[in-house]
């Protein structure tokens, strides 16, 4: 996306062109917002006129009420912050550890070849299946949940980042070799900087992955957090609570995704 401040119209025709592009963007944005508003209104009306049963579908005003209640009880922020912290820790660990392991695999062709079948199996294994084992080993608490989030994102990160490393043009590496670069220098000067876009892509995937891990972990541990609220709400048939939690979850996930997009812009400043 372009920076609005930088655009200067070169001519009248150019100004018209810019206006056209801007109109189009505005139209897309307005349509997106309208769909959301329309959906909320329809939902509310359908519930009010008993077309749908608000007891099982909830309704926007009930969600707002639930939010207010949770806030007044003083537990709203506790649940939100617990889930967010677990996700962020899992997400950072997953990306950092995944990148570190990818570096090891890039460094040693031998280790990479040995690890290959294990990675393939671990990648296709649903990590959620390991949940009970993790809880038994680590104990039902935030560490088990973070481990869950880490496991879900780790293997994908390793595979994505390693593929990114291996995609770096061999000629770029050859160029460094002609300067007599060591393997460490090749890693630092080419492989890592060239892979920043890949690592960011992994980060973006990991936002979603870590949330999956955290919510599933909270389902299993069920002490606190948004996942706990969802499971608890489902068990006692308080669908308002479930819907409210899902609503908060989507906002939190969207914000984290926005953060990675912002990070991308900061780090990849050579793209204009």
């Amino acid at each position: 996306m372009f920076n609005r401040n930088k655009i200067k119209a070169a001519s009248k025709e150019h100004a018209m062109y810019i206006a056209k592009i801007k109109r189009k963007k505005l139209f897309i944005r307005l349509t997106q917002i309208s769909i959301l508003i329309l959906f909320i209104i329809l939902w509310e009306l359908a519930a009010r006129f008993k077309i749908i049963d608000a007891f099982i579908t909830s309704q926007p005003t009930r969600i707002v009420n639930t939010l207010v209640n949770l806030h007044e009880e003083g537990t709203l922020w506790m649940h939100i912050s617990i889930s967010i912290i677990e996700t962020i820790v899992g997400f950072i660990l997953g990306t950092a550890l995944g990148t570190a392991i990818a570096i090891v695999l890039w460094w040693s062709d031998f280790i990479a070849k040995v690890a290959d079948p294990y990675l393939v199996v671990l990648n296709s294994l649903p990590k959620v299946a390991l949940g009970p084992i993790i809880i038994v080993w680590i104990g039902a608490g935030p560490f088990a949940i973070i481990t869950m989030a880490l496991l879900v994102s780790l293997i994908v990160t390793i595979i994505t980042v390693l593929n990114g490393f291996l995609d770096v043009s061999p000629d770029k590496i050859k160029l460094l070799k002609t300067f007599g670069a060591t393997k460490l220098q090749i890693l630092k000067k080419v492989i890592l900087p060239a892979s920043i876009p890949t690592i960011i892509a992994a980060l973006k995937i990991n936002v979603g992955m870590s949330w999956v891990g955290v919510i599933v972990g909270e389902f299993l541990v069920s002490k606190a957090g948004l996942g706990h609220l969802i499971v608890y709400g489902g068990q006692v048939f308080k669908l308002d609570l479930v819907m409210t939690s899902v609503f908060i979850l989507s906002i939190a996930a969207a914000l984290m995704y926005q953060f990675t997009t912002w990070l991308e812009k900061k780090l990849i400043k050579w793209h204009n």
Binding site: S169, D171, K172, K174, L175, L176, K177, T178, F179, G180, A181, Q185, K189, V190, P193, A194, I196, I268, W270, H271, N272
Partner: protein
Amino acid sequence: MNRKEVVSLKNVSLKYYSLEGETPAVNDISLSVKEGEFIGIVGPSGCGKTTILSLIARLIKPTKGQVLVDGKLVEGPSTDVGYMLQQDHLFEWRTILQNVLLGLEIHGKVNQESRAKAERLLETYGLGEFKNHYPDQLSGGMRQRAALIRTLAVDPKILLLDEPFSALDYQTRLAISDEVSTIIRKEGKTALLVTHDISEAISMSDKVIVLTKRPATIKSIHEIRLTCEKDNPISRRQAPEFREYFNTIWKELEVHVQ
């Protein structure tokens, strides 16, 4: 004039190995390059031209024979040899100046003096005002010039040019080959240019070496003597002898179009 020999290949052979077997790429090549010479190497495509440059840069070791640079048998790449690839391979995350400093960084030789020298080179060759730009913002010709300066910044004695203009369009190519050859001569470097473009080789080189099909051996060596007013590739292309050299080399290359 008795000039020093800077590159010498003595009965060099190279075979590539794979599980399926071995492929001879270069067969018994002996070659001597004197200081300040500009050598063009032409040959049928895939004949092992690039392999010869990789051998001189010591990116690969010969299966047989010796490669001497500056009279020494050296293991691994050194600052004596600068290599210019087909594509400029400027790193898109570095500014032009940072790209130019890459080689110096690897040798741990970035200091005020070397940095000033790199900036001076950029200035001299018309890239001074672009030093803080990213490669994306430069044209193909400018990028290739920046790549040359990156190679020159480490002050190599010998420059290896591996079809450095093949990624450029024809007009830029003529202009930049003119510039590059002027720069190389002005900086007093020895150069080996690998190309499939016969005219390019004749217009830039003192000597043109014709290689056979793979495995590459030396078929002939032509001393290029052209009568022209100015000694730059574009006026050299106007020389009356140019055509003759072209035809001779063309015939030797036995290009068959199927």
